[in-house]
């Protein structure tokens, strides 16, 4: 005896699917985004309640306990994580989702009678496993549990190819026979493929891989919807697949890379990492007071925030600096590179946290012509996104990435801690140019000093 008829069940699942669509639609504007997310969460709640009311379930106490455990683990982590650690958290959640999909497919395989249902189950199993293992490796890389450099060893392409071939063979066997044993082998092969796929990816490319694996998990969930004949899983998974695909493409093109190049670049020998050694050529460095004078007597200042600002948690200080300069009649705007930081749109989230007005955030294409008329370009913890090597050095790993043209500004001030390069691991010639001044130190400290110096002037 179930409380909900199949028709009502299907309608409630449809309502949940519509909630998910509305959640994504909400993201078209910051004003509706939060409400959208809540609608999405409401949809999830509706769906979970529906599954309990509509199916004859055994083990309900156990299931409820498992849900409690999952929530108890995830919610506090999600609530307390620092914004700089967001990428690894997303990677982790993505991985566990993929793992859950793989397990569901593994257990459901026994009930799959029609061949096309088994095809869908095998797809979920394999892709879910790849996503699980791959995401955990990206997590380890980002959390610096392992090296962020590409891991390549001589036999890698061969092993990778062998694992893939074996996975395809096992898939065929499982579809044909439905054998549970071979399905477990397939799961293991999927995990191995996931690890091998992500190991050779260099640190700077990891966020793209996360987004790609996000799309993978989406597809796995969509296929599990086919296995279970569940429209909600089908629609939700497809939505995620689409979103992951679009984001991956957007990021890759903002970095001037191709997705295939990122995944298989290391095999072809074109490593994505350069040297991380600091150079010791002479540079011009200065004091917070000097920088304050430069800013105070400028008419137009463009601030270029980057990953270092996020690390230093300097967003509130930089917002204060903006306000102080604007009070003194200086035009200040932020130049936002689409892949500054470690997530797409990272700087927007960061500066939103500090209540910086939308109007002062300018996108790359809009702001690039403005550097010519700027007196000072204040680069705070950014490096790769302003590195002219992207335009001038064909061999460089960032070659082809559109950059912010800070070199056009009258004066360029870099706030960073050392001469170490950015995430792509390559030197930035701009640091040695005559118009460039460096202010060494943690971005937040430096900003605070500059701010008080500006106020003292």
């Amino acid at each position: 005896m179930t409380l909900l008829s199949p028709t009502w069940t299907a309608i409630l699942y449809l309502v949940a699917a519509v909630c998910f669509i509305l959640a994504l639609k909400g993201l078209s504007s910051p004003k509706t985004a939060r409400r959208g997310n809540l609608i999405g969460a409401a949809g999830a709640l509706i769906a979970v309640v529906t599954v309990f009311l509509s199916s004859r379930l055994e083990n309900v106490p156990w299931i409820l306990m498992a849900i409690a455990v999952g929530s108890a683990v995830a919610a506090p982590v999600a609530r307390r994580v620092q914004m700089t650690q967001m990428p690894q958290l997303v990677a982790l959640f993505n991985g566990v989702g993929g793992g859950a999909a793989a397990l569901v497919a593994l257990l459901e395989l026994g009930h799959a009678d029609e061949p096309w249902v088994r095809v869908a189950a095998v797809f979920t199993l394999l892709v879910g496993a790849v996503s699980f293992a791959g995401s955990l490796v990206t997590f380890a890389k980002l959390q610096e549990l392992m090296t962020t450099r590409p891991v390549v060893f001589p036999g890698l392409p061969v092993i990778m190819g062998a694992a893939l071939l074996a996975a395809i063979a096992a898939s065929v066997v499982v579809v044909a026979t439905g054998s549970a044993g071979v399905a477990v082998v397939l799961l293991v092969l999927g995990l191995a493929t996931g690890v091998l796929l992500v190991l050779p990816v260099g640190g700077a490319d990891v966020p793209i891989v996360i987004s790609l694996l996000n799309a993978f998990t989406g597809l796995a969930v969509a296929a599990s919807g086919l296995v279970l004949g569940n429209v909600l899983l089908l629609v939700a998974g497809t939505l995620v697949g689409a979103s992951g695909t679009i984001l991956t493409r957007a990021m890759a093109s903002a970095m001037g890379r191709s997705v295939a190049g990122i995944l298989f670049g290391a095999f072809r020998g074109g490593s994505t990492a350069g040297s991380t050694a600091a150079s010791d050529r002479p540079v011009r460095s200065s004091s917070p007071e000097d920088v304050a004078v430069l800013l105070r007597y400028a008419q137009k200042v463009l601030i270029v925030p980057g990953y270092g600002l996020a690390v230093a948690q300097g967003q509130h200080t930089i917002a204060e600096l903006q306000a102080a300069l604007e009070e003194r009649g200086i035009e200040v705007a932020f130049a936002i590179h689409p892949v500054a930081g470690r997530m797409p749109g990272h700087m927007n989230v960061l500066l939103a946290e500090a209540n910086v007005a939308y109007e002062s955030l300018k996108e790359m294409s809009e702001v690039n012509p403005e550097f010519k008329t700027a007196d000072v370009a204040l680069v705070v913890g950014a490096n790769d996104v302003v590195n002219p090597a992207a335009k001038s050095t064909p061999g460089s790993p960032i070659y082809g990435m559109p950059i912010l043209e800070v070199e056009e500004a009258r004066q360029v001030v870099f706030l960073k801690r050392s001469m170490r390069p950015g995430f792509a691991g390559i030197e930035n010639e701009l640091l040695y140019e005559p118009q460039t001044t460096l202010l060494f130190g943690d971005a937040k400290d430096s900003l605070a000093k500059v701010l008080s110096a500006v106020k003292a002037l």
Binding site: F20, L24, K25, L27, S28, P30, A33, R34, L38, G40, A41, A44, V48, F52, S55, E58, N59, W62, I63, A66, G70, A74, V77, A78, V90, F93, V96, G97, G99, A100, L103, V104, L106, L107, E108, I210, N214, G218, V221, A222, N230, V231, L234, G237, T238, L239, V240, A242, S243, I246, L247, M343, P344, G345, H346, N348, V349, A357, Y358, E359
Partner: protein, 96 residues
């Protein structure tokens, strides 16, 4: 539901997904990433169904593991996205 209906639904969902997501402003790409991430946690529904059908202990353990993982994905994903979006709400620039 028959295969053809599922195929039709898939095709339409692909269109909906691409159309809706391509309208997301690039300002919100990080929340999009984590919001989409939360949505695939709905595999929880599948995990619950599988766990509810489990008859032997081995299956049950694996299914409950899937439930735990899926719940973590779902709950954590929505919470973290909400935290991120909360920041966008209070912005003084909301006039635009």
């Amino acid at each position: 539901m028959d295969g053809v209906a599922l195929l039709t639904i898939t095709v339409l969902a692909i269109f909906v997904g691409f159309e809706v997501v391509s309208k997301v402003s690039s300002t919100l790409h990080t929340p999009l990433m984590s919001g989409a991430n939360a949505i695939h946690g709905i595999i929880l529904v599948g995990a619950v169904i599988v766990a509810g059908q489990a008859t032997d202990a081995g299956t049950l353990v694996l299914a409950l593991l899937a439930v735990v993982l899926a719940t973590a994905n779902l709950v954590g994903g929505f919470v973290v996205t909400d935290r991120m979006l909360e920041m966008f709400r209070g912005r003084k620039g909301a006039r635009r």
